[in-house]
Symmetry: none
Subunit: 572 residues, 2 copies
Amino acid sequence: MSEHTAKHQSEARFEERFEPQVEIFDTTLRDGAQGEGIAFSVQDKIAVARALDELGVAWIEAGNPGSNPKDMEFFRLARDLGLQTAKLCAFGATRKKGVTPQEDTNVRSLLQAETEAVVLFGKSWDLHATEVLKVSLEENLAMIRETIAFFKDAGKTVIYDAEHFFDGWKANPDYAMTTLQTALEAGADRIVLCDTNGGTFPDVVQHCVKEVINLVAHSGVSALRGLIRGKESEEELRELAGKLVGIHAHDDAGMASANSVMAVQAGARHVQGTLVGFGERCGNAALAAIVPSLELKLNLRCLPEGRLERISELTRRVAEIANVAVPDGMPYVGSHAFAHKAGMHADGILKVRRSFEHVDPARVGNDRRFLMSEVGGRSAIAERAKKIDPAITKDHPVTAAVAARLKALEAEGWQFEGADASFELLVRRELGKYKPLFSIERYRVVSEHPSSDGATCSNAWVKVKVDGSTEIAAAEGDGPVNALDGALRRALERFYPELGRVRLSDYKVRVINGNDATAAKVRVLIESTDGESAWTTVGVSADIIDASRSALVDAIEYKLIHDIERRFKAYI
Amino acid sequence: MSEHTAKHQSEARFEERFEPQVEIFDTTLRDGAQGEGIAFSVQDKIAVARALDELGVAWIEAGNPGSNPKDMEFFRLARDLGLQTAKLCAFGATRKKGVTPQEDTNVRSLLQAETEAVVLFGKSWDLHATEVLKVSLEENLAMIRETIAFFKDAGKTVIYDAEHFFDGWKANPDYAMTTLQTALEAGADRIVLCDTNGGTFPDVVQHCVKEVINLVAHSGVSALRGLIRGKESEEELRELAGKLVGIHAHDDAGMASANSVMAVQAGARHVQGTLVGFGERCGNAALAAIVPSLELKLNLRCLPEGRLERISELTRRVAEIANVAVPDGMPYVGSHAFAHKAGMHADGILKVRRSFEHVDPARVGNDRRFLMSEVGGRSAIAERAKKIDPAITKDHPVTAAVAARLKALEAEGWQFEGADASFELLVRRELGKYKPLFSIERYRVVSEHPSSDGATCSNAWVKVKVDGSTEIAAAEGDGPVNALDGALRRALERFYPELGRVRLSDYKVRVINGNDATAAKVRVLIESTDGESAWTTVGVSADIIDASRSALVDAIEYKLIHDIERRFKAYI
């Protein structure tokens, strides 16, 4: 094979394999699982790993096999996962004091995980060595050196997490830097600076990252030599050294995103975090809030082509697996991230998108929303109504009619900003694109204490009418609304069996004009789902049962109308 | 009066009045109200203003009287609020194009708010002038100049919000700086740089703040002249200029905290945000996450002595008024902020506190929690129980009993943060200082539609027992809870006529475990008043009527116990 052909083939391989400019390292399955209220089964872990691989992160830290037997089971199953982009790593500490790495069971269990890479954490802060581990500063260096060398001899890629690096650097900068020098010389492939307690400010992070890149650039270690082609300028040498330097931030001072992004601005090219931000205390750096900043604002490729557009969806999926909601206000991917309420903002957006949007929501797979509220305006209404009838403009008479109706309803305490499905029904009524699909003829809800079994009990009785036929059903419930919901669905399922798949996924109550106390109006928001999509409806009344009935009716009608549209579109 | 005496008196006044090193400016009631799902009644607004004043912020931006009639009503009521530390401001835009400030109704409504200060926002971004407002760049400057001059002539303090400053600076730095120069020359007392779209990174913020401080330091404007004593060095001059420069950040790139803190590091001394982080899209800079960083890490005094310790409590109170939860992972004040899950972390903490804590949670009035361990906030409990019995200390057996009871109730969804009266009853029960004053033997609540008069109707029937005698009463109501409340009071008034003066002043419902939908538990908070004082009680149940019953019973018992104490103290 001629030299020319070899070079050509190597370039072709380079093009085939995705090479990020910044390595994204997700630790949802390890540090994320240390967050309060987060617990993953082995099946959950596999689902999370699949989602992260679909997103295209470079590394998935999947657990601590030494401390958690469930993690070891995951690593056994993971060998057959067939991940496309992501490589798995197992996480553990440097060896214990007074033993060799071979004698340390935690160290050995890291080998048994059979991952391409291991993440080793060691102590950078002198206080932690002497006061927590109770070892001498020299012994701590030996623990770092020998454990890394052990894994390099075993052929592993070694990512070295310098735990508490910034606190260590503040306390004893020379010693903190010596721990890194030791790790480098022992053969570490990455040096990751950890703000374990999360209290460091971005200026310190930037300063330290630059110092560490300098250290790496002039270390002459083999990890760097592998990248050097010779004759690099000082600047190019630092750029290459940055590929070996990473950041691991926590959000205890609200600085996790800034610390991560500013570390990259300072040259680091490896970013650790958890997609949704799960983690100890205030959480780890949330990758879903950071990757878009790196890709869209610093123009650094982190994910394969086309994946950033899926980050909102995949973040929701990972949160769903953990059974928590993505925070509404989460940057880029939250449901409020591109929601505009003030009329002036909505108006500005419709004139020039970027006037009130820092990035285009489509770039991160999120949606622009105009909240329907008294501070909104006609432009926002028209924009929303267009989805039902594309002919509707700001000056269309229906827009004015909807605006007037909205204003009257808001004066009575209605609020449509979180209730897109009820808003759609309102627009349909004004457009004449609506006919009731059922009516409630009567209902009666009784709560009593003590009931026959001695506890409090609610039961409901409902009579509905559908296309001339009536049906009566009754249900018991944990409260009056739960009972009414059960009876209503039972009565309607005879006519609309598809309602069997619908369930309420969230229920919120807000009292309006609180100073009228229990005689005040209540606003009920109900989120429903059929397993594929979710929609929210609203109801307002002085009577919480009546308000709930109104939101329940909207929720059912919305579902039925969309099913009809989908199934019978051709006839309409 | 001699000059000496005058000077002495002025110094004394200076010492009496709290003078922060960084001015904290809260806009929960204006920008916060633009957040999705946030809506305040006038009573809510007053309660928020009181909480912010208790915290000791310098400024409260309380609304936009030109765009919202509800805000004007608040400003009318606010004149009698008697705030101690905070000063109120009204917010509005510079005049519209083609009119004088006198002719602009929004401008005039700002005067009618009768606040000491007004906040005026103007356009810094050329795009917004030409494409959104559709005015020439020259006309935009005239709008800024004339509106500020108008309010200075009216004797107001003028805080100038340079909307979209950073985006403007990126697009056309000369023009952006010219708008500030114009505002300064027209007499603005503060120049606040706004990252309205929230997409700016901290490096740009730092750079701009330094440039703007430089501009102010050499502007020779009267706002700066008032601070100068003569012979300041260049550095001192910049320090004084920084007092006129503010930052207003949004969190769309997760940088709001970092942008605020780094602006202060660059010399700005006025920080705008909302306590909990409410605001358009991803929210405003969350002051509860920023003030602790400024006070504890940069050693800059923001609040009067002893107030930082109340920031967790007051943040929860403001969130409670808005009927939203403080995010668990919120820096400093969230319930997870000092919760340690990993065994290694808990172990480290018990050896050396700072090994896994960036600040002491007591400094911000938050609690350290070891998950799955009994260590709770006994000091806090003892502190509150002392109000009932001064003999109670942290080590008193009742404190441990209350802690255990609290822990059990919290696991069931109870929360006593906002319900002091229910907490007092809980402590009394543990102290043995409690005997039920009545019991509910039976109740039955019926809601039906249509009722005899065609509308929805709720009615309740209650049987109570007091000291061996029973009484039955019934009432109709606007909803089931209102009906139950009416019947219960009617039945008890025969025994306790003083209940005739009690009325419910607020009623809030929060669903816990939202994903179980209508079968989830609800937490009801009830505020009651007898015209002299107000107290809040809580109830939790799967049934909203049962939860309300529990809170109503506490509310009535609390009132009766305090009346008995007051009337019969001599005999007890």
